[in-house]
């Protein structure tokens, strides 16, 4: 089996780690979001909803828990959209030419980018969950360890599929976007033809 996509993956992860400001902001921002808004809002929501009787048969979760799931989804969304757009930067800076001129099958470029985008989303989802539990979100209340394991796998599965979808979407947009310079876009068209 050809493992060329791992090369692309490795390179993209290097970039992720090396781009310090982006790395830290992408990891810290969702956590801060939850810490500031989540805690403040949840106090208000708890006060407002004490009068409403719980619907029978449906488990009640706190606002922070509810919001944490949303923060995971939102973070995944933005990371994935940006993850595919990196192809556009590669194209504009001419970095793509090296890969295009190599014997690497073209689809491996997309696989590699998709895999690294997914990894980034996983890292962020885990950080948000750990931080959420730390500040009081109740993800797995009353679950046995086996159930917790399955829940985590389920979350990762959901995050994986969700991020893949948006990665492919943004990668498709990035590839079809024309650069201002005509020769480059022709270059890419030529590559797709071969």
């Amino acid at each position: 089996m050809h493992l060329g996509f791992l090369t692309i993956y490795w390179r993209d992860m290097i970039r992720f780690v090396r781009f310090r400001t982006l790395l830290i902001s992408s990891l810290v921002q969702p956590a801060l979001w939850m810490a500031f808004f989540g805690i403040a809002m949840s106090a208000n929501f708890t006060r407002l909803t004490t009068d409403i009787p719980p619907v029978p048969g449906i488990p009640n979760v706190g606002y922070l828990t509810f919001m944490a799931a949303g923060v995971i989804a939102m973070t995944t969304l933005f990371t994935s959209l940006f993850g595919g757009m990196i192809l556009l930067f590669d194209k504009n800076w001419g970095l793509m030419r090296e890969v295009m001129a190599s014997p690497l099958p073209r689809d491996h470029i997309i696989f590699g980018i998709a895999l690294s985008g997914m990894t980034k989303s996983f890292i962020q989802a885990v950080i948000i969950m750990v931080f959420g539990i730390f500040i009081g979100a109740e993800f797995f209340q009353g679950y046995s360890p086996v159930e917790v394991t399955f829940s985590i796998l389920g979350i990762l599965l959901f995050v994986g599929i969700f991020s893949l979808g948006f990665l492919f979407l943004s990668a498709a947009i990035a590839i079809s976007l024309e650069t201002p310079e005509p020769s480059r876009s022709r270059l890419l068209r030529g590559c797709r033809g071969s």
Partner: protein, 328 residues
């Protein structure tokens, strides 16, 4: 004679209505340095992009390293190395990572990759910069790293698209040394340039290309000889009479008027002929103010073959103006 490593016949390429390359044929022998010399927009990069499979073949045929560009692009890609015209290094990767990335793109085995990286960093004198991010390298270092990258997979043919563009004269000289030493190890080199001296200095054979057509091909000295052996520049008290007198001499193949003085093309070694020319002119009572003897440069060759000055083409060639200034 061995089989040519690059064989191109009737290659043509157009962008919409614009014909960038209009049917060129040439071949490159194994182990030589072959140059495409021409102004910006002559079609050099287009030709290179077709040969390196970055543009698909529209018309004609091309074989590189024994493989057809149109039908076996993957095999061609495995056998070549490329240094692009513009810098294509990731700013946020170290020198080592750039080479490692390239090596694994071409599926080199781990051990071989490590050895080759050490070897190449040594060759281009970047050992000390192994863990430096490429954004902290100077222009010359970046170019050297790119050449190292092009050589990573021990390609049969190395394509260099304007390798010394924007480099200072000392760095250019060193780049030439690297290119020559790479060639001596057996790599065939295909070079495009718009620097006359570069084509002259480096290559075994030169093709002059303009408006998408090859105008002349041959060893640099042969192209120069088409102009005659030497050029003699003279300023005299009576240029018209002196010109007429020189035209009468069998060794003088042509006389070209200049704003001041004139240039005589001679078919013999100019340094031996010059005293006789001076005697002849003095015999006619003509006083000589200035004498200058020079070998034809690639600049002269280009003008001779294309009928136009290379340096009229664009403003972005400080090197051409520079080399002209040096000759004066």
């Amino acid at each position: 004679m061995t089989e040519p490593i690059i064989e191109v016949s009737n290659l043509a390429h157009r962008y919409g209505d614009f014909e960038a390359v209009r049917g060129i044929s040439f071949s490159v022998e194994r182990g030589e340095i072959f140059s495409f010399l021409g102004p910006n927009g002559a079609g050099k990069s287009t030709a290179i992009n077709v040969l390196t499979t970055l543009l698909h073949l529209q018309r004609g045929s091309a074989r590189v390293a024994g493989f057809d560009v149109a039908t076996e692009p993957a095999r061609v890609r495995e056998s070549i190395g490329i240094v692009f015209q513009e810098v294509t290094l990731d700013r946020d990767m170290t020198c080592w990572e750039i080479l490692e990335f390239h090596g694994s793109l071409y599926r080199m085995p781990h051990q071989q990759r490590r050895e080759r990286i050490d070897e190449l960093l040594d060759l281009v004198e970047l050992e000390g910069k192994r863990d430096t991010l490429t954004k902290h390298l100077s222009g010359g270092m970046k170019r050297r790293l790119e050449i190292a990258r092009g050589l990573m997979t021990r390609p049969k043919v190395l394509f260099l698209d304007e390798p010394t563009i924007g480099l200072d004269p000392q760095t250019r000289r060193r780049m030439w040394d690297y290119i020559k030493s790479v060639n001596e190890e057996g790599t065939t080199i295909f070079l495009t340039t718009h620097y006359m001296d570069e084509a002259d200095h480096l290559s075994n054979r030169v093709s002059i290309i303009d408006h998408g057509l090859i105008i002349a091909t041959g060893p640099a000295w042969e192209l120069k000889n088409a102009l005659g052996e030497d050029l003699i520049y003279l300023e005299t008290s009576d240029d018209a009479a002196a010109g007429a007198a020189l035209r009468g001499m069998p060794e003088v193949t042509g006389v070209q008027e200049k704003t001041r003085g004139f240039i005589a093309h001679v078919s013999q070694d100019g340094s031996h002929l010059l005293p006789r020319i001076m005697e002849a002119l003095q015999g006619h009572g003509i006083r000589i103010h200035t004498v200058n003897l020079k070998k034809p440069s690639m600049d002269d060759v280009f003008v001779h073959f294309t009928g136009r000055d290379l340096r009229d083409e664009g403003a972005e060639r400080p090197g051409a103006a520079h080399s002209r200034a040096m000759r004066r």
